[in-house]
Subunit: 612 residues, 2 copies
């Protein structure tokens, strides 16, 4: 069905082309110019848009085209559901675009801005197939953090004064404490980090300034000038730096930019996210997603973009492709791809287990469904010892579920145990991206699928690429089996000032957890990367079988104070390690390499500028 009558002349050409192509290639395609449905720039479109989405909810192959402009969204008439959002705070969420069970749906913004005026999730895609989101920018009228410029800093008194921009950060001082009104929610000062406005990045040695928010005192001392004191053993941030404060869980990650879950074949193309009260993009249990030309950056007049990661993928499968994207100024990692370890609480007999989700920000996660392959692991060694598949699963509450397996070991060992989903382990291609000027890491990857990370630019406060996995803190599963990291550029990795490496491969273990008989990670190649570095760090490994670090070039940088404290190469309990043909240039010291005694089959040759 074609509704030519709806087309506005300004877009008629391109829309005509789309229609023509649809006519040729897919008989059912329907292109809708939203302006024919009471949706126009400069007013609250929330209600009309939801009515339009509803009216096509039973149709396939629909494109909603927004003529270019700024479209406004207010929460008053927004649809709402209680939503579990992994790595966020669950809750009753109002939504701008609420796309449920859609098939072959495209949202084309034509370069528009979708401006949000309240605590809403801009995009929710739930149980969709063949969904394309393209050509738009998401922004909020106020960010989910406050940017406080330091106007006075007194190291002796350990006090400092900040100027509050009350338009962007309406505030209130109560009982000597500083609160911010974020769309009706009064947030305490909470998590914080200091940015350097010249580098538009977290300041060097950020940890020195990490403020103890629970005891921090605030006092109004001038026209929107607030004096902060009682900072404990931390330093007052320097004058002209900018203190960023951003609330606390469970109320500081309520609003991601785009939430995609239980979906298949999703494409995000030429989309920007300038603010979000959570991650820019969080994807759960989705098969095949292609992210192209995705931008996460701060809006004009702001230093910081989103409250958390640029992109995050949990429990996905198929192909994750993220390319040609810019991710900067967010308050957490560029990308994180992982699964979830869940805890076995009790064995009920008959292959039936009571299990529970481990991390408080994964509550409500779908761990698995009938047919999924799973591993049973020791929670001590985090190594798997049995594989089976799910024959039944029953969710009891947001934490606990009952899972029935096809079979169980004859003698279940008497150790704490976990489960991991082996079916939902995606491949990842991450290429031609820039991840920079952010708090935390460039990329975190824990998936058993094939991983290719190439031609990216990383400039991050902590590790460039962290391959971790843990069953103690974040419960992020997916010991890797095949990772190639090549031809990337790493600039000033670890400007936190701590031993943060371009590549850090190691599970995080508790003091109760021990390295088992095997190795956790396998087959990691880090080759032909260019590293511009003030600290000379290259790679840190632990519990890796098969690590190739070759052809990398490190060049000294004086962008930050020189740090010589840590070994450039730090190999721990690893097997089959090759360190070949790496070059260190312009360092005025020889880079140290350190190999633990329990590491085996290490081949080192042709490295220039490194000390054995």
């Amino acid at each position: 069905m074609y509704k030519f009558s709806h087309f506005k002349s300004i877009h008629s050409k391109s829309i005509f082309l789309i229609c023509f192509l649809s006519l040729v290639f897919g008989a059912q395609a329907k292109v809708i110019d939203v302006s024919a449905h009471g949706i126009s720039p400069g007013k609250d479109i929330t209600f009309e848009l939801q009515q339009l989405i509803k009216s096509v909810s039973n149709e396939e192959n629909v494109t909603l085209v927004f003529p270019k402009g700024q479209y406004d969204f207010y929460p008053d008439n927004a649809i709402e559901k209680y939503r579990y959002v992994a790595n966020h705070d669950n809750g009753l969420k109002r939504m701008g675009f609420g796309l449920f069970n859609s098939r072959k749906l495209t949202i084309d913004g034509s370069g528009s801005t979708f401006m949000f005026h309240g605590r809403m999730v801009p995009f929710t895609v739930e149980s969709g197939q063949n969904i394309t989101l393209k050509n738009f920018t998401i922004d909020f009228i106020r960010p989910f953090h406050a940017e406080l410029t330091v106007v006075k800093s007194n190291k002796v008194n350990k006090t400092f004064q900040v100027k509050v921009d009350k338009q962007n950060a309406p505030y209130k001082i109560q009982d000597n404490r500083l609160f911010f009104d974020r769309f009706g929610q009064l947030d305490p000062t909470g998590s914080n980090i200091v940015f350097n406005p010249k580098t538009r990045s977290p300041i060097f040695n950020t940890y020195d300034y990490g403020l103890p928010w629970l005891t921090l005192h605030a006092k109004l001392v001038g026209d929107d000038i607030v004096e902060l004191s009682n900072i404990g053993n931390r330093l007052p941030p320097p004058k002209d730096s900018v203190l960023i404060v951003y609330g606390n869980n469970p109320t500081s990650r309520l609003v991601p930019g785009i939430h995609i879950t239980n979906s298949k074949d999703v494409k995000i193309d030429n989309v920007s996210v300038l603010a979000a009260g959570g991650m820019a993009l969080i994807v759960e249990r989705t098969e095949n997603i292609h992210v192209n030309k995705f931008t996460v950056s701060s809006a004009d007049g702001r230093l910081v973009a989103t409250r958390a990661d640029a992109t995050h993928f949990i429990g996905c499968k198929g192909e994750i492709i993220v390319e040609n994207s810019l991710m900067e100024h967010m308050l957490d990692d560029g990308i994180n791809v992982h699964g979830a370890y869940v805890n076995i609480d009790a064995y009920l007999g008959d292959n039936k287990f009571i299990a529970s989700i481990s991390h408080f920000q994964q509550m409500g996660l779908i761990f698995g469904e009938v047919g999924d392959r799973i591993a049973i692991l020791s929670r001590e060694t985090v190594l798997p010892f049995f594989e089976s598949s799910i024959t039944a699963i029953e969710v009891l509450n947001d934490k606990r579920f009952v899972v029935t397996l096809a079979d169980t070991p004859d003698n279940l060992p008497n150790v704490p145990m976990s489960l991991e989903n082996l079916t939902w382990q995606p491949n990842l291609t991450f290429r031609n991206n820039m991840v920079m000027e952010n708090r935390a890491r460039g990329a975190l990857v824990t998936t058993k699928g094939k991983v290719l990370i190439e031609n990216n630019y990383f400039n991050n406060q902590m590790h460039g690429i962290l391959i971790e996995g843990d069953n103690k803190s974040w419960y992020e599963s997916g010991a890797v089996e095949d990772v190639i990291i090549r031809n990337n550029t790493f600039v000033n990795t670890g400007f936190s000032g701590k031993p943060h490496y371009p590549l850090f491969v190691s599970p995080m273990l508790t003091s109760e957890q021990r390295i088992g008989e095997g190795y956790y990670h396998k087959n990691v190649q880090f080759i032909d990367n260019n590293i511009r570095s003030f600290n000379g760090l290259l790679v840190h490994s632990k519990s890796v079988d098969g690590l190739i670090v070759s052809g990398n070039t490190l060049t000294f940088s004086d962008d930050y104070p020189t740090i010589k404290d840590y070994p450039s190469v730090d190999i721990n309990y690893s097997n089959n390690v090759q360190l070949i043909g790496n070059t260190a240039k312009r360092f005025n010291w020889t880079l140290a390499t350190k190999m633990s005694n329990d590491s085996k089959a290490i081949q080192i040759k042709g490295n220039d500028g490194f000390k054995q």
Copy 2:
């Protein structure tokens, strides 16, 4: 299908009888002894019970019989849903009995106690038909309030000291403030009232002691002895009185005892509720409910029962019958029957309105469904001016919905408007009950159905029977049309010390709201009641057309300090009022009657002991 093999011998006689009767009267009846399903006293039965409920969820005519004992419920394995609960705080709720879409289901406790060990809703009945709950007691291991015995009281310093029972009220002092740990939730001291342990009731003149919880200071001064100070212009409670503190919204009414909604033909028989973090019984949008021998009372060793009302009915229809019940020691009203006024926010044309729920504890309420008759009212006068019916309704979020009416007035008046549901207006029979020793009122009634309140015993801190309705604060709708209140006993009504009457009939109006051309309430009879009174109060009316107050006997009581400050009869803007044959005995003053100039058609005769 009969499963005789499941029966335990101890109950075999009565169960045999049930089966025999089932055999005779209903061929499909199935009686299940829960002990055959791993459910036995003295352990957590939450999981096994839920499995059993699930296994019969598609069957009709099932009775679950619990052999007498104490059954324990823990939240860990409880099922959970996000639940809207009217007059409570919405949220993700874990449930003991989660009964969804059941048909002809009976839960028979055989006199058992269901003991809850965490923040769970004991019973949820959603979309059920022919549901019977009988023969059990609901209790929690710790109540949802703290009872703090005053061990020292200093009127000069305005400080007092309380002994905290840390078993029943685990506490924490932080930043000079007293918090209570209620099943993992840290509640501030919050709402409070002082009880007199001798009367087991709120203390006389309770308002004198209402503590300003926001500024209250706390200090540990001895072995679980806490000194409280900074009480503003209030008095310290007297020595040996008991300060009850019970949190604040939106976290203090999360857990009602029994929640019934969207159901039909429900029976609650011989059920007790000794504690709940909300009301004992809240019923929403249910047709026909019979409550018999319901007990709300405090457990041994506690003064207070539930955090809020004993029973509460919102937006019901058909017959509500509450009889032979005891309701005492709760922190709010005995019964409240009402509807909800919702706000008209915008007219969209085509008989379509955007409307919103008005009260923050009604969010998520089902205002109406297709076919329901509604009235459009002025929000200024709270009088209706148009009737229609709902042809479509679409919920946008917990507050707003779009409602389409069959027709709309030709000229919608340019005043603020509300909607009321006229279809869901139940009849109420409230008889042979005792409502006593509680904070707040005995009964609140606003329904257009037939109301009969007879043979009850009321002994309440505020009004005995309040017929109110308001569109400003609680948004409780249902101007009455036919109310008979007869042969009740009212003892010491209004021991708050304020002008609280056995019968108070008046809408609550804002200063912006005016009495319109008509009257709000109609046809209220208050006859042949016995009133034992220290304040000589009988009736207060406003905006009532048709009020008969006759045959009532007031007898002076010296149980409380005498109060002579208020007129016994206080008639305001009312029409067709009869005050006939009432008698006041043993008062040492003549009771005053006051009639406003704008009242009409007043007949006064044969009253003894009253001044005209």
